[in-house]
């Protein structure tokens, strides 16, 4: 029989707090403990596709950088395949985590440009946690140089008013051989980033 009602409820979320680094990025907390810290390399050396970099800062409602944020990335490879049940390049995980600089709040990671999945425009999935965030925030990073794909993306087109869609579009800042995209996240205010219930 198919279960249609829940047997038990999901555990409640609690903030990751200011010391999230101890558990998820101990080197940043100031000590080495594990032989390998996971999440440092999203794509791996064997992945096909264009190498890109994404950078940004998370700002709170006062415009202050969130200096203790941790962001996780989840994405498909250049062919739109997830390292889950699909076959992908050896070493391609499609997942990683990054923390902000403790002084400036700036963060950045290197990866490969994701491929399109189904009808959607290429994008990265992000999950944002920090002190003062009671439950992790899901958002997406689209790319401003994929104008046509973005224009027909079903998720972007769900967002109303349309002006809010711009909060999910990363801006290309480096036109060289390795594109760099800027993606600032705003937790509050007129340009509050769109967050999803996925």
């Amino acid at each position: 029989m198919e279960p249609q009602t829940k047997a038990m409820p999901e555990t409640a979320s609690q903030t990751a707090g200011p010391y999230v680094h101890i558990g998820l990025a101990p080197t940043a907390a100031g000590f080495g403990i594990y032989d390998t810290e996971i999440g440092k390399d999203i794509a791996g050396p064997m992945a096909g596709g264009e190498r890109i970099r994404v950078e940004g800062v998370v700002r709170d409602g006062n415009g202050e950088p969130v200096r203790d944020v941790l962001i996780e990335v989840w994405q498909p490879n250049a062919d739109g395949k997830f390292a889950h049940t699909d076959k992908v390049e050896q070493g391609f995980r499609g997942w990683g985590r990054v923390i902000s600089d403790f002084d400036t709040g700036e963060w950045g990671f290197a990866t490969i440009r994701p491929g399109a999945v189904g009808q959607g425009a290429p994008h990265l999935c992000l999950w944002v946690v920090a002190r003062g965030i009671n439950i992790g925030l899901h958002t997406r990073v689209y790319f401003d140089d994929l104008v046509e794909a973005n224009a027909t993306d079903p998720v972007l087109n769900m967002i109303d008013p349309p002006a809010h869609r711009q909060t999910l579009i990363a801006r290309r800042t480096e036109q060289g051989s390795q594109p760099v995209y800027r993606f600032d996240i705003r937790l509050q205010g007129d340009s509050e980033t769109v967050f999803f219930d996925i």
Partner: protein, 246 residues
């Protein structure tokens, strides 16, 4: 019944009545860090229903033991020796096997090993304060550690966090990703804490309190507490007996 299971079965929608809202003014830091617009509910997408998978090669065999994973050879962390164990299940009460759990905590004095923690309680040279493990086929996990101490935090003039351990769990879908905190039965700071109080549903908050598990206690050695973690479950799958994630 020969229906083929979809490649990534959908999850039950998240029950937001059991989750803390973004803005809980009693927890002061949420005031400037809480999005004010409604979340946009997405239809099921591969990016939400898939997620990173981990294997024993990703972690060390001793990472689960906080008593010794940072200690000098032959040494051990200081404090009440404690096992925290339980199961990771989904909302259909099915085990979630092979999923990564990471934990972190203050030492027995309430001090974190972190650049930013300046509390005057002493650092324990033999305690790092983090661990990680994978659940077994029945969704079971175990950490050995010391009981963390309560500590003051700057939410008000005299505010203290109850003793707690932070837990990070993946499940098999990015939409199941969860970070929470485990508290311990009988701690008088639990009902006073604004972070616990961010959860509107009393039952949902109470479920974060680990109970003494005398049966799992090792006599003359280590006390044990039980903490189960429930992740979002798959909706209407035809393969009832399949464990979650296979």
């Amino acid at each position: 019944m020969t229906a083929k299971a979809p490649p990534h079965p959908p999850l039950y929608p998240r029950d937001w009545s059991r989750q803390p809202p973004a803005l809980t003014p009693g927890y002061r830091t949420t005031r400037a860090r809480s999005p004010r617009r409604r979340l946009i509910r997405l239809p099921d997408t591969p990016g939400a229903l898939t997620g990173p998978l981990f294997s024993p090669e990703d972690i060390g065999v001793d990472d689960w033991d906080l008593l010794t994973n940072f200690a000098a050879p032959g040494q051990s962390a200081i404090g009440p020796r404690m096992i925290v164990h339980g199961r990771v299940l989904d909302e259909n009460a099915r085990p979630v096997p092979g999923t990564l759990i990471e934990c972190w905590q203050a030492n027995a004095g309430g001090r974190y090993r972190h650049k930013a923690d300046t509390y005057l309680a002493a650092i324990d040279p033999n305690f790092g304060g983090c661990g990680r493990t994978l659940t077994d086929q029945d969704g079971r996990y175990q950490f050995r550690t010391v009981r963390p101490g309560p500590y003051p935090w700057p939410n008000g003039p005299n505010t203290w966090r109850p003793a707690h351990i932070h837990f990070s769990v993946f499940g098999h879908s990015f939409a199941q990703r969860l970070i929470t905190q485990c508290y311990f039965e009988g701690d008088p700071f639990i009902p006073l804490c604004a972070i616990v109080g961010a959860i509107p549903d009393p039952g949902a908050a109470e479920a974060l309190t680990a109970l003494l598990d005398l049966d799992a206690t090792i006599p003359h050695d280590t006390v044990a507490y039980r903490f189960d973690i429930i992740l979002r479950g798959r909706r209407a799958t035809c393969f009832e007996n399949r464990p979650e994630g296979t």
